[in-house]
């Protein structure tokens, strides 16, 4: 096995490896800015400098030359080397800043150079708190600045594109954003203009940075040079809670983090998952935070005299039961949804089958030609495959419409069929329509009963993506009935952990009056005299699904958490263009 010595410790390695990546994988640290594991390493920030040497080998005997103490004689590179583009080779000896005075001095001096023209506006900079430059300056940088003359001024507040804003003065020219458009999104929209201390990234003249993946450059930016036009100045990083979740705006199921403060989702960032989305996500998915905050249905609503009025939960459950009892079984139609999770759809279909109704139908939400073979898919729903695996009846839009026209009682689960143009308000007249939904829409406006359910940001539930990978969400924001401090699934932010109750602002209106589907189905089932719906959480629902449904065998929340999602055998992944 080839070996490498880092700070006096011996490690064995396999294959071709970049030194910086290897050091990071060991859990050790070397500061850097421009390196990114998914992109090329141009080594232009010069921050990851280390001292590297190679033992001298006798070419004829293949023996290492040794000194009088029996130690290998090391031939050091004449200058310090950047660890990011240095490939490890057998016998290599590396000294990082932890053991070598020269290396730590070089890194400190390099930071002083980088900081020469960097503005000291951390207090108003969005990146502060998650800024590699800030963190590494604290750790490795000089105490103060010796630079006494005027800093170079560059353009500020440049609207690069509809979603990204540039502050060129903050830029340290790491070129990560340029390489992202060259190597990952392949739109080649960015370049570095000018040179010397006047350079900064920009688009070609008269063009817009409208890359569908443009906001990834904001995450990539190691300083506050690129900021999101939408999230700018909205919140400080340390005030927010970060909760892992899944992108529900398309079928790829990008792994994401939801950032919440005061029970509002303020931004969405991608979370690394090698098998799904690597480090990236499409810009569209980041807009989804609005779904969780805005236009939410809070408290059940009921139609009285053709007008929807606020109702109560008890009233809502009683109404559904009444309607189901009154109608002929064949006249009742359950419409499931690819937009809802596996658990929700399962409970829906379990209820239908136990009470002797027709198996719920669903229709995929496809927009032909939207997909790009990368992270954007034709399928606009996160769980189409989940519905299929649960054995729900897949129907085309026209078939659904036909079935709805025949029924007298229609129960919709979260799919806004009127907004999608599949049904018209005429189709739903003279029928009893109950909608389990998260957000107000044209469809819920028509419904006779609207029951608010939790969104992906409020419950733990799983979704099967286009490649047959089942992944799950965590509750990120509280509802009226949940409490961050009591629910172990919910993340704790810095203020939850260390703050007093006066540090955290709580706006009660931000908590939506809605219930998870398992809670609702339990109450509905109780009204119908069924006892089989005693679930405390989505976790228990998934345990039941896994035990009775063949395709979901072996699936559990624990397993999904450990392996960051599970590839189900029954669906073959589509080949992804890289």
């Amino acid at each position: 096995m080839p070996e490498v010595f880092i700070d006096g410790e011996r490690y064995i390695y396999e294959g071709e490896q970049r030194l910086l990546q290897f050091i990071q994988d060991l859990g050790k640290e070397v500061p850097f800015f421009c390196y990114h594991p998914s992109m090329s390493a141009p080594a232009n920030c010069r921050q990851c400098m280390v001292k590297v040497g190679q033992p001298i080998k006798d070419r004829e005997t293949g023996e290492y030359e040794v000194d009088e103490n029996g130690d290998r004689v090391i031939r050091w590179f004449p200058k310090l080397q950047t660890a990011c583009n240095m490939m490890i080779s057998d016998g290599m000896v590396v000294h990082t800043q932890e053991t070598d005075e020269l290396v730590s001095r070089a890194q400190k001096d390099n930071l002083e150079f980088i900081l020469i023209n960097h503005p000291l506006d951390c207090p108003i900079c969005d990146q502060a708190g998650e800024c590699p430059l800030q963190i590494q300056t604290y750790k490795y940088g000089p105490e103060g600045s010796r630079f006494e003359v005027k800093k170079v001024h560059k353009p500020k507040r440049v609207q690069l594109g509809p979603r990204v804003i540039l502050d060129a003065e903050r830029c340290i020219n790491c070129t990560r954003c340029v390489r992202f458009t060259d190597e990952i999104s392949k739109t080649h929209q960015l370049t570095i203009t000018s040179r010397g201390d006047k350079n900064y990234p920009i688009t070609a003249p008269n063009t817009e940075f409208d890359d569908p993946y443009s906001l990834n450059t904001v995450d990539l930016c190691p300083v506050g040079a690129l900021t999101s036009a939408d999230f700018r100045f909205k919140a400080r990083v340390w005030e927010m809670n970060q909760t892992p979740s899944i992108d529900i705006t398309n079928a790829k199921g990008c792994n994401i983090d939801l950032w919440t403060r005061d029970n509002l989702v303020l931004r969405v960032t991608p979370r690394f998952n090698e098998d799904v989305n690597d480090h990236w996500m499409p810009d569209e998915g980041r807009e989804a935070y609005r779904i969780f905050n805005e236009n939410r249905i809070s408290r059940p609503k009921q139609k009285l005299d053709n007008e929807q009025v606020q109702s109560s939960w008890n009233n809502a459950f009683a109404t559904i039961s009444e309607q189901l009892e009154e109608a002929e079984k064949s006249d009742v139609l359950f419409v499931a949804s690819p937009h809802a999770s596996v658990e929700e759809n399962y409970l829906f279909s379990k209820f239908a089958s136990l009470t002797g109704y027709r198996t719920p139908l669903f229709t995929p939400h496809i927009e032909e030609g939207k997909g790009d073979g990368f992270l954007i898919t034709d399928d606009l729903a996160p769980n189409t495959n989940g519905c299929r695996l649960l054995g729900l009846e897949e129907k085309s839009a026209s078939e659904i419409a036909k079935a709805v026209k025949k029924a007298t009682v229609v129960i919709l689960l979260g799919d806004h069929l009127v907004d999608r143009g599949i049904l018209t308000s005429e189709d739903l007249k003279e029928k009893f329509v109950a909608a389990f939904a998260t957000n107000n829409s044209e469809t819920t406006k028509i419904a006779d009963l609207v029951v608010p359910i939790t969104t992906a940001a409020e419950h733990a539930a799983s979704y099967v993506n286009i490649d047959g990978r089942i992944q799950r969400t965590f509750p990120a924001k509280e509802t009226k009935y949940t409490n961050r401090r009591l629910d172990f699934e919910m993340s704790e932010g810095r203020l939850d952990r260390y703050g007093t109750s006066f540090d955290n602002w709580v706006t009660d209106n931000n908590k939506v009056d809605c219930l998870p589907m398992w809670e609702i189905m339990r109450r509905v089932a109780e009204q119908a005299g069924l006892e089989e719906f005693q679930y405390g959480s989505g976790r228990e629902v998934m345990e039941e699904i896994a035990s009775i449904s063949e395709p979901f065998n072996g699936v559990s929340y624990e397993a999904m958490d450990e392996q960051s999602g599970i590839q189900l055998d029954s669906i073959k992944p589509t080949t992804v263009q890289s």
Binding site: H188, T191, S194, R195, A204, P205
Partner: protein
């Protein structure tokens, strides 16, 4: 204004492209073809070059803005780069610059109204041995300048007469 390459230009660009394994390498010489044709490589010319080479516009823009020898805006017919770096400065580079400013009626960085001359102050052009000096449109060096010599060069240029390349003998050390 829409810029277009002539047939000859396109042929030349094809020849340049054939020299390199990748078309990206042809960016610099193709920009020269463009600058020789149009006198500058402004945004529109950069776009034309990008389209001709089938390269991203941003790449061509980045390359063009990196080099000061590519003119990113329209310049005069003759661009006079007067060196005021150390050697020239000591030998009167600023005097030459000021003389030209007065003579042409423009400040450094500006272009005369008739579009004949652009005057620039530049850093060292590597001709310290024959300071003070200036360069004409990225090309000929005019060395050992005096105010009279500058006046003559300007007069000649007005009449379309570009100074010839000058070979200067370096004073050799006397070797016995």
């Amino acid at each position: 204004m829409a810029y277009e390459f002539t047939k000859e230009d396109l042929q030349e660009i094809e020849k340049i492209k054939a020299k390199y394994p990748e078309v990206k390498a042809a960016t610099l010489p193709a920009l020269w073809v463009a600058q020789n044709r149009f006198g500058h490589v402004d945004e529109n010319v950069q776009k034309l070059v990008a389209n001709t080479l089938d390269l991203p516009e941003s790449h061509v823009h980045g390359v063009a803005t990196f080099y000061t020898q590519y003119y990113k805006e329209e310049k005069g017919k003759y661009v006079l780069d007067v060196c005021t770096c150390l050697s020239c400065q000591l030998c009167g580079g600023y005097d030459i610059l000021e003389h030209l400013e007065k003579n042409l009626g423009i400040k450094k960085g500006e272009t005369t109204e008739d579009g004949m001359f652009t005057l620039n102050e530049v850093e060292c052009l590597g001709a310290c041995g024959y300071a003070p000096m200036m360069q004409i449109t990225n090309d000929q060096y005019v060395n050992n300048l005096t105010t009279e010599k500058v006046d003559k060069v300007v007069e000649d240029l007005k009449n379309g007469k570009v100074p010839e390349y000058e070979q200067i003998e370096m004073p050799l050390r006397n070797v016995k």
